[in-house]
């Protein structure tokens, strides 16, 4: 009762308050045809005696006028391309009047080419409709949502979708989507429904941070597959639907500038361009070429500091249709130039050979300055011959150029460590320039040959390339204990053997693919049944070259001090011919052929979509290994039958229940199959390939309830279960000849992944809330090693089986966004929080020593305000909490030990608490800009 009392008082007070209003006019505005609420319609209330007030409808189509004068009133409602609505009402004093307004679209009678069903495809409404009407389990994010969201890359948009978390790169930008805790390998990326090749050396699917957010009309996240979709998406698929030619002439323009808090605090480090070559001397001059020092540039080791470089965000899209509406075109240009810094601390860990407890061996301080330039040009052209035939062409060019400076200072925590602030120190200034490009041409045709028979086809040529050059200098210094007890700061010298390392990596991935589908829709038993059959074929060729050159010191000048200017030092080429035998020099061909049969019909309230897909995979490679080693050449062939069934039971026009089964596969990445032994310099362990890696297969079950009470509101709740055979995970393994553990992809029996998701969107006038939550549980069992001292006093180990979640899978993922939208004043604001629960970052070879990423919450804010007609000013602020990326081991840091030994005292570590592994911070990022729509 005590708790109720204040509530009652509040209720009473508000009732009294309400009663004091003279009169109230409330109402809703909807589309007469669809019944959808109309957001942003202008409602004017006036009377003859000069009273006139206007308001805009809210997100739910509602409006309200308080303190309206009693008497005869006129209501006028206007909305673009809808007919004006007028009505008169009689309002009594102290009364409330509810008005229902239905607007009718202006009819377009210009010609007989029917242009139907467009609406505004970029709107939230259409995204919700898509979710409701789709044949499969999907979530969609509209361009409008993206535009007002804080996100500027597609990767960061995906994390707003239920059950999706993201894997970030080392500048804090999202890079890959993790759907329902399934590692990125299980999720494919489509552009307009078709795969594009990846410039990423390690992954077959294109990273999402390459796409600026403003080029897409809609982002779709598929959580189940239909037979007409390619089957290698166990987790699901991300489809970027690019903007399409609009019916009316449209121009959009966007210009903004950005600022990173960490750059503002610390400045930004730039480096020079290689003025000699972008490809390796070996590639330029042939395998037998002996490089000389003149082939290498010092420029990438010339560093300068910019105090406050500002980012640029610009976009322009122009589109429209010819007068007869037959030909449409849209060209979008986008440019982003972003500067960010990352600061981090990292502990290299090992385990104590007796207790198997975590043992820290090095502490590293890392700073990054990362510049990312995204440039893209996208053209979409379509031509409608008549109502039954149309073709469209999509040509895109996407380019991500990244300049990254990294400085690592590594202090050894075992040898020569006699106290805090002492030890051997290696320092590595490094610059890395990577240019990724994607060219994509898609030609697509739809032909309706008869009323119940149609055919569509697609031809695609696309190519992705990446050129990454790295320049690292190895420096040595230290603070070592002297015989007299003092600690001496050693001068900074250049590591005579390692000197400079210059790495030149290049890879290209080219796809030629064709798709052909037939759709036949006869009426069987009074029910329209849609049969489709189709096939596809893709020829993929991937080429990779990799060379590493070491520029060491001449023996006669083996001790050289480094004063910050590398031009004062002398180097000689130690590796004259690069690394021609590195297996990252390879040619890989993959031919995938697919065929499917699918049917779909609706009977009563039940929609059934089912069928089976066949995929044949044929892979071949030749790499640069000598014939005396395993895997110089390889060929792998397999095929899969992938049935699926999607049932949708429509309880009423607002509620669905879906039950879905589909079978899917995941093909290993090329990088994982090629028996390489080098590659990622940032990897904590040496990575090696596994030519015997199998493809993973999975059975996926989904059950989902959907409720769409109003056009923008929704409630989705579902459960899922996935049974994955031969899941692919990275594990540390011991190879026969090598001294240390290496990191290698392998297959691990059977994994089970299950959970549930809830997704709620609710709008009340100017306010909206979007929230989703996903719970995921997975289990996989692998063999781990446990070190101990045996009865004879010798250090040795035993193997133990341990179960754990899949790598990268968070048990809890949540999202919440609060939105405010006032159409009249043209003000939009949104605050979004994402919670990603703890997850395994990397799997240790040792029992209980897996490295976990701590659960974290990121908070982003964005706002937009109309300043003049169609001109808006907007601001975005991301990572408001400066959320750190934290890694740890779920084992207590050991009790205090001697310096250099297990449990030594060191900053960041507290005995008895989880062992600290890494912390990176990225700082806030702010964007301010203008955009203009015509």
């Amino acid at each position: 009762m005590k708790k109720l009392l204040p509530l009652l008082i509040l209720l009473f007070y508000s009732t009294v308050n309400f009663a004091q209003n003279i009169a109230l006019v409330r109402g809703t505005v909807t589309d007469k045809q669809t019944g959808e609420p109309m957001l942003g319609a202008v409602v004017t209330l006036k009377n003859k005696s000069g009273y006139s007030k206007s308001t805009g409808t809210g997100l739910d189509g509602s409006f309200i006028f308080k303190n309206a004068p009693a008497g005869n009133l006129e209501i006028e409602v206007k909305y673009v391309s809808y007919q004006k609505y007028e009505t008169n009402i009689e309002l009594a004093a102290n009364a409330t009047r509810f008005v229902k307004v239905q607007l009718e679209a202006k009819v377009n009678n210009l010609n007989d080419v029917v242009v139907t069903g467009h609406g505004n495809r970029e709107s939230d409404q259409s995204a919700r409709k898509l979710e409701q009407r789709s044949d499969q389990v999907l979530n969609a994010v509209s361009a409008k949502t993206i535009e007002v969201s804080p996100d500027i890359t597609v990767a960061n948009v995906t994390q707003r979708v239920s059950g999706v978390s993201i894997e970030r790169s080392n500048n804090g930008e999202g890079q890959y989507a993790i759907i329902r805790g399934m590692e990125k390998r299980y999720t494919y990326t489509l552009v307009n429904g078709f795969k594009i090749p990846s410039p990423d050396n390690k992954n077959r699917y294109v990273p999402l941070d390459i796409f600026p957010a403003d080029i897409i009309e809609r982002l779709e996240v598929y959580k189940s597959l239909t037979p007409n979709m390619e089957g290698d998406a166990i987790g699901g698929g991300i489809n970027l639907v690019l903007k399409n030619a609009p019916d009316d002439f449209t121009m959009k323009f966007n210009l903004g500038t950005g600022l990173s808090q960490s750059v503002a605090d610390n400045g930004f480090t730039n480096f020079g361009n290689n003025d000699k070559t972008f490809r390796s001397p070996r590639i330029n001059n042939g395998n037998n070429y002996n490089a000389s020092i003149g082939d290498f540039s010092n420029n990438p080791q010339h560093f300068t500091n910019s105090k406050l470089p500002l980012g640029t965000i610009a976009g322009l899209s122009v589109g429209g249709r010819t007068a007869d509406k037959k030909f449409g075109a849209l060209v979008s240009l986008s440019y982003q130039n972003i500067y960010k810094n990352t600061n981090g601390v990292f502990f290299q860990t090992d385990v104590d050979p007796v207790s198997n407890a975590p043992l820290v061996t090095d502490i590293q301080s890392r700073t990054y300055s990362t510049q990312q330039q995204r440039t893209s040009a996208i053209g979409r052209f379509d031509y409608k011959f008549d109502r039954n035939n149309h073709v469209d062409l999509n040509a895109s060019f996407i380019d991500l150029a990244q300049n990254q400076y990294r400085y690592v200072s590594d202090t050894s925590l075992n040898l020569a460590r006699t106290g805090i602030g002492q030890g051997r120190v290696t320092e590595n200034p490094r610059s890395d320039r990577m240019v990724q490009k994607i060219y994509n041409f898609q030609l697509h045709g739809d032909h309706k040959l008869a009323d119940n028979f149609s055919v569509n086809w697609t031809g695609i040529y696309s190519k992705a390339t990446a050129n990454e050059n790295r320049y690292q200098l190895a420096l040595i210094t230290g603070r070592t204990l002297q015989a007299d007890g003092s600690v001496l700061q050693q001068p900074v010298t250049i590591d005579a053997l390692k000197g400079q390392t210059q790495t030149f990596a290049y890879n290209s991935d080219q796809d030629k693919s064709g798709f052909l589908n037939f759709v036949y829709t006869p009426t069987i038993a009074n029910t329209k049944v849609e049969f489709s059959v189709g096939g596809m074929y893709r020829n993929k060729t991937r080429n990779s070259t990799y060379d590493q050159y070491t520029l060491g010191l001449p023996l006669t000048q083996s001790t050289q001090y480094y004063d910050g200017n590398i031009d004062h030092n002398t180097f000689i080429v130690s590796t004259l011919q690069g690394t021609p035998s590195d297996p990252l020099n390879y040619d890989f061909t993959e031919n995938v052929g697919g065929a499917y049969g699918q049917f779909k019909f609706t009977t009563g309230k039940l929609q059934v979509l089912g069928g089976v897909r066949y995929e044949h995979t044929d892979q071949n490679w030749v790499d640069a290994l000598p014939v005396t080693q395993l895997g110089k050449t390889g060929s792998i062939k397999y095929y899969d039958f992938l049935p699926s069934l999607n049932l949708k039971y429509m309880l009423d026009d607002k509620q669905n229940i879906r039950a879905t089964y589909y079978s899917a596969i995941s093909r290993p990445n090329f990088y994982e199959l090629i028996p390489h032994t080098t590659g990622d310099p940032d990897a904590d362990y040496q990575e090696v390939g596994n030519p015997y890696l199998k493809h993973a297969t999975a059975d996926n079950y989904d059950l989902r309830y959907e409720f769409f009470p109003k056009a923008l509101d929704q409630f989705l709740a579902g459960v899922f279960y996935k049974r994955i055979e031969n899941p692919i995970e990275y594990a540390l393994v011991k190879q026969s000849s090598s001294l240390d553990y290496v990191s290698q992809a392998g297959n691990f029996g059977t994994a089970h992944n299950y959970g549930f998701e809830v997704d709620v969107t609710k709008y009340v006038r100017h306010f909206g809330i979007r929230a989703n939550y996903a719970f995921t549980q997975s289990k996989i069992t692998t063999t781990k090693r446990e070190d101990y001292k045996d009865a004879n006093g010798n250090n040795t180990f035993r193997t133990v089986d341990q179960s754990r979640p899949l790598q990268g899978q968070s048990k809890n993922i949540g999202n919440i966004s609060l939105l405010y939208k006032d159409v009249k004043s043209g003000f939009d604001a949104q605050i979004s929080a994402v919670y990603t629960g703890e997850r395994i970052n990397s799997v240790s070879a040792y029992l209980n020593n897996d490295v976990w990423q701590k659960g974290f919450t990121t908070l982003d804010f964005s706002a937009e305000k109309r300043v003049y007609k169609n001109l808006y000013i907007y601001g975005k602020a991301t990572n408001l909490l400066n959320t750190p990326y934290k890694l740890f081991i779920k084992l207590p840091y050991p009790p205090l030990g001697k310096p250099g030994a297990s449990g030594q005292a060191i900053e960041y570590q507290t005995a008895g608490e989880n062992t600290f592994v890494r912390r990176d911070t990225y700082g806030q990022y702010y964007i301010l800009g203008l955009h203009y729509k015509l």
Binding site: A416, I476, L497, K637, Y638, S644, L645, Y692, T697
Partner: protein, 464 residues
């Protein structure tokens, strides 16, 4: 009729759930090519070989040579094996890939040589204090590892290496095409010898090693018996004479070590073999080590590092930049040590008799002073004060080191009868004797000696 559709659907649904079919991969991965070994028919070894190099003859190696698993390559006495390498590229710097057994049976009177064509010239340059070519690394060394697994031999274990009265010199050319990247990344300097056959024996007796670019010998697992050898002038800017990792078990005794870039002998359990590195080092003499290592916090004579264990007795350490060093992460409680003899020219050397960043301390039987130039060990033919270590505390480039300080040359490190090191050795402990075989193809272990250092006054110990 609609019912029928629904029924059909139900039947189909069941069918669907059961019909997923995944064809296992048909995989065809090229297997490591194992060529049939040829006998030694000419004076040039090439490709895959096995057999015996006959006494007193000279043989040549122009390109990489492989010995298959189960095969033996043997050198009788007095054999010269000349490696024709230029050290410029991996392809022009041959390596001996030893997946079988390697035997080099030199004798005191007819030692074997595994060296390069211009060896005499290189020795002359060294004697003239010009080391640029000496440390260049002219060939790829002898690499003793298990063969790549093949379906017929899924678990090859490699073979023994038995080396007696043999000179091995001038290895260290960059690794490349044919090397296992897990221990020789492309471009890395290779060693004179690499041995990683954890169940096999590595026996090196009465042999000479000279002029490697980096480490001279590295052992990543194996049963070792390293007796009475001479190590000189190895490591241009870093590297050890004998570097032991996880899986290495055995004895190192009566070795004469002079002019190592870093340590002479280093034991560490780095690696993951599951067999703890456990080595006894006794009666070794180490002179002037550790000065070319440009990195700080390294050793200069003997190191026991990460989890390594063993024992260390009767070693004579003269003017090394750092004395014996037991790091705090070594298996400290299982390291026994005593009876070392330490001499230092400068205060800096004296202060590091037991390296200050280690946990080793003076033991009851140690001979060491806190004053520089105390306890001259009185070598027969070497002046311990001939070089000014106060002025050159290290790190220094090789060209600042006179040949006499880093090579044996005309020096003689036997002890005078007046040496305070005589009779101060500990003899009441046993070698580990990890290598059980004795005789021509086995080991001859010299037991702990009463005089500290490699040379015993009774003529036993190092025979060079």
């Amino acid at each position: 009729m609609k019912k029928i559709l629904i029924q059909l659907t139900a039947v189909f649904s069941l069918g669907v759930m059961l019909s997923a079919c995944h064809k296992a991969e048909v995989v065809n991965i090229s297997q490591p090519l194992v060529s049939t070994a040829n006998g030694i028919k000419s004076d040039t070894l090439s490709g895959t070989v096995k057999g015996t190099m006959l006494a007193g003859k000279t043989y040549y190696v122009k390109s990489d040579v492989t010995v298959n698993d189960g095969d033996t390559l043997m050198m009788q006495s007095g054999v010269h094996l000349i490696i024709l390498g230029d050290g410029a590229t991996p392809a022009s710097s041959p390596e001996i890939f030893m997946h079988g057994t390697f035997i080099s049976l030199g004798t005191k009177d007819a030692p074997n040589y595994i060296t390069v064509k211009n060896a005499a010239d290189l020795h002359t340059q060294a004697a003239a204090q010009n080391y640029t070519n000496v440390f260049k690394g002219w060939w790829g060394g002898i690499t003793c590892t298990p063969a790549a697994p093949t379906p017929s031999k899924p678990n090859p274990a490699g073979g023994d290496a038995i080396i007696k009265w043999t000179h091995i010199e001038f290895g260290g050319a960059p690794a490349g095409t044919n090397d296992d990247q897990s221990f020789y990344a492309s471009g890395d300097p290779r060693y004179n010898m690499y041995f990683a056959n954890i169940t096999k024996n590595l026996i090196i007796e009465d042999s000479w090693f000279f002029g490697s670019k980096d480490d001279n010998i590295r052992v990543s697992g194996g049963k070792i018996s390293i007796m009475r050898n001479t190590f000189e002038l190895c490591g241009g800017v870093g590297g050890e004479f004998f570097n032991m990792k996880s899986g290495t078990v055995g004895d190192l005794a009566y070795n004469m070590c002079i002019g190592a870039a870093t340590n002479s002998l280093k034991a560490s359990d780095a690696g993951t073999t599951g067999t703890q590195c456990n080595v006894n080092m006794y009666n070794n003499t180490m002179v002037n080590g550790g000065y070319r290592q440009t990195k700080t916090g390294r050793g200069g004579s003997i190191d026991y590092e990460k989890s390594a264990r063993g024992s260390m007795y009767n070693n004579l350490v003269v003017n090394c930049r750092f004395g014996p060093r037991i790091t705090s992460d070594a298996d400290v409680v299982n390291i026994k040590y005593n009876n070392q003899y330490l001499y230092g020219y400068s205060p800096a050397i004296v202060a590091q008799f037991y390296s200050v960043d280690g946990v080793g301390t003076k033991q009851s039987g140690d001979i060491m002073s806190t004053t520089p130039q105390q306890n001259d060990p009185k070598f027969y033919g070497y002046d311990v004060n001939q070089y000014n270590f106060t002025a050159n505390p290290g790190p220094i480039s090789a060209n600042l080191q006179p040949y006499a300080v880093i090579g044996i040359g005309t020096s003689n490190f036997k002890l005078q009868t007046s040496s305070p090191a005589l009779g101060k050795g500990k003899t009441d402990f046993s070698p580990m004797m990890a290598v059980k075989t004795t005789g021509d193809f086995g080991t001859t272990i010299t037991l702990p000696g009463k005089d500290i250092g490699a040379y015993q006054n009774d003529g036993t110990g190092n025979q060079h």
